[in-house]
Symmetry: D2
Subunit: 287 residues, 4 copies
Amino acid sequence: MSYSLGHNRYGKSRIRLVTVRRGPQRHHLRDLTVDVALEGDFEAAHTAGDNANVVATDTMKNTVYALARDRFTGSAEAFGLELARHFAAHPSVSRAAVDIAEHRWRPIHLEGGDAPDAFLRRGDMTRLAAVSVTDDGGVSVEAGIDDLTVMKTTKSAFGGFDRDRFTTLPEVEDRLMATKVRATWGYRSDLAASGALDFDAAWTRAEETLLHSLAEHFSPSVQASIWIMAAAMMDAEGSIDWVRMVLPNLHHWTVDLSPFGLDNPGEVFVATTAPHGLIDATVHRRS
Amino acid sequence: MSYSLGHNRYGKSRIRLVTVRRGPQRHHLRDLTVDVALEGDFEAAHTAGDNANVVATDTMKNTVYALARDRFTGSAEAFGLELARHFAAHPSVSRAAVDIAEHRWRPIHLEGGDAPDAFLRRGDMTRLAAVSVTDDGGVSVEAGIDDLTVMKTTKSAFGGFDRDRFTTLPEVEDRLMATKVRATWGYRSDLAASGALDFDAAWTRAEETLLHSLAEHFSPSVQASIWIMAAAMMDAEGSIDWVRMVLPNLHHWTVDLSPFGLDNPGEVFVATTAPHGLIDATVHRRS
Amino acid sequence: MSYSLGHNRYGKSRIRLVTVRRGPQRHHLRDLTVDVALEGDFEAAHTAGDNANVVATDTMKNTVYALARDRFTGSAEAFGLELARHFAAHPSVSRAAVDIAEHRWRPIHLEGGDAPDAFLRRGDMTRLAAVSVTDDGGVSVEAGIDDLTVMKTTKSAFGGFDRDRFTTLPEVEDRLMATKVRATWGYRSDLAASGALDFDAAWTRAEETLLHSLAEHFSPSVQASIWIMAAAMMDAEGSIDWVRMVLPNLHHWTVDLSPFGLDNPGEVFVATTAPHGLIDATVHRRS
Amino acid sequence: MSYSLGHNRYGKSRIRLVTVRRGPQRHHLRDLTVDVALEGDFEAAHTAGDNANVVATDTMKNTVYALARDRFTGSAEAFGLELARHFAAHPSVSRAAVDIAEHRWRPIHLEGGDAPDAFLRRGDMTRLAAVSVTDDGGVSVEAGIDDLTVMKTTKSAFGGFDRDRFTTLPEVEDRLMATKVRATWGYRSDLAASGALDFDAAWTRAEETLLHSLAEHFSPSVQASIWIMAAAMMDAEGSIDWVRMVLPNLHHWTVDLSPFGLDNPGEVFVATTAPHGLIDATVHRRS
């Protein structure tokens, strides 16, 4: 044969799962988008049209809903572990990956307190969980934040950069810095696998630290901001081994109002999305 | 001539305006998408290629940024009025319409209080303002809410509906009701034009009432929910003449887990977006 | 009662229908997104929670699929008429509207001719049909084109426009003109209702004329282009009563390369989508 | 220091470049979205706020427009090589990556032939090119196709797959298979670097073969389809070393019309996008 099968994986994406747990005082609403992907002994499916080893992606979808009935009672990470362990136990599977995006809702506030059974989708960020389990029991758990749009209206500069014949950007000591954060991080495998780690508490510490650090540090560049925020997150949460951030630099340009006889001391901006800078860096804890 | 020009309007859309007001204690961040559209004496531009009466849409964009420098200090509605009055004063314009979507940000919370210069985009809803001014001084001000995704996990039913040979939907006494609210409302013209109306306070009362009503009422249908919520909003805010809501019914189907030997007492759902019901109704205050 | 019900309509949106007709020589693939909306005697549903007159939107969806089985054999307009007449016959309905977007596919080209059973989604434009039928037998049929992105690389100018203190745009005798066409048009009601009109042939004539006219005319403004193209379409197709176009002006800015010692004689452009001009005009045939 | 910098890259994304070459007979329109990303000696930018080695992303954007003036005269791959070699020559850069999506336009057809200066965006697929150059002269050139939506209306089956207690999917001998193709492939490095490879001809051969193979083969699964199509592409184009495809399985469900007394012999389908299967596999040429 002239060709060989290389890296391959397959699964079901965008499984939309909503659960309502109906407690005596109030309902609890959860809203997930789940992606399942499997690696394993699928060579014959590709090269010989033999599906004997293939778990149908429709079965994956059914499994997500069925396991949600009783086992989705805690964090997205814990549910992801249940799912990934289930799929990894299949004889043809060598590695099962479960990626979860959790869409966050909050109760509607009423005068006497939170409504028990009416909710509003928050929309400020998405919580991510990415779990994989291998057939030899290896476990990887990552968590993250996506679609968190933030802005620093000062304490951001960009200067001292390289200049060549195509450089026209002036150096600035004070600019707006806006980005849509995608941050992911990995937990220590032993802790993640043991069940000893409180994934919700760890996520909350990481998220709060990210926001505090974002607000408080002086940023000489997006690159430096990633370093500073990632380090702060690992300082705050010892179970995190590494943090990756992929940050677009959503430029806000100061509008030149001088043609209209007006000054513009950093007050009026045009917001843009294209083109945008894109900074991608991972920071590791030294072992 | 065989043809005649009918309804026509033109303008600039998606003008992205961000302002930062730098107070001594804290910064104030505003983020608008502005659309401007003009009607008037533009027949010659269409039929004769004569642009003498045409305000270039580029000029509209410049005007939005220039007027924002000093005059965008209050509500989106008030800024819309400034803009619409400016454009309506042009000799060729008979009606100027300014539509604004305000994207809401909040300060990042720190331990000692809100950050003075770091913000997070809320994402839970967009505030709308739609202003139009005619060359005879007529003023219309509408406000609204868009992209507010909400869910009632009980107190929603749908039964007693018509059945024909294509009907398979069972009646249900208890269902999830989820929707992405687009609600707009009109203020009394005299109040809106006078400057006496506090647009921010009115919007907040309308929004809070919408949410409270949504949480508290029993819904026999989306149609009835619109009636109930719109009436509550007009009860609470006397300056509102009418309320329109366009509500998709974002169906959440109870998953049949019986093939897997499991019950599902209203706990596990599949969220869908297509197809969806779409209910559009306007409720008027009787004069 | 303090409030009254104003304009209202409801229905099912985004019904995704694909049909495959399996002829002896080749398959015929059709792909529609259908929206149904009804007006009628639905006051009690809103004000009294009484659903007796309500056709469930789920029933509408079922009806679309069921009628597609035997009656979707010709144009989208003809199928829309079947559907709208079906719904308008319901005792509580005064007006039924069916909006259809047809996504166009073509056979994959093979060396020996078109593949009989493999297709490629064209993506160059969407065909629109909008039909409404009233309970007194009134019929309205509109057709259209959406998402047709086109560009003229010359024969477009913009000059002689109004200048005020906020105007900075220079006049240009030669510019790129790019837009994403949304054009809709209305057929003479008597023809549309009679069954005598060949909707496919009329649509094709309108579409071809729009494209030819777009390519050939000199444009002094987007406004003038709408007038010229709409008139050409009505010249070519006598069954059309009016044409409406909503055209964004997707600006392409000539890049200033002089800082790099380069000229730019209309060769290098930055494409933008926000902000954009938006020109909306309707041209009527004089009766 | 407790932390170390891991993998990092940064650049400018979504640079929107349009060029018009004005030949004596006709204009030539090109439309690219370009992303530039650099790796190199950027540690100090992250850890010390020292930007001395940093090429500003604004400079990258300027460079794309400036080099487009004279050097974007052939394929997207060749232009990507120009850009990547330019950036890789910077002393702080170890690897420069340029990703290009080319949006395809065609002249509008007139009766006498193609319009010389009016164009229509095709929308049927996007052409991809991904080039990287390292500071030691290493070159990688990949090409691809994105957003190509296709359907086989027969010659697709799915059976013989694994069944467990969560499996409800029936085996089918004849189904619709629809997908939105993302295919990428790598050219032999020596050929790609030498300038001897005609990137346009190679892309066209790969694209045509993909489509022909898609139309002609019998598919026992999406996995097998990838294998078959990838092999055909490498058979046809000897410069390709590997092909990767990421194919969503866009399910089209046969509608059960039996409640309405109708059969449905594979004629009426509901098109869905969520959830969808997702099959990702790479096929290599054996060396």
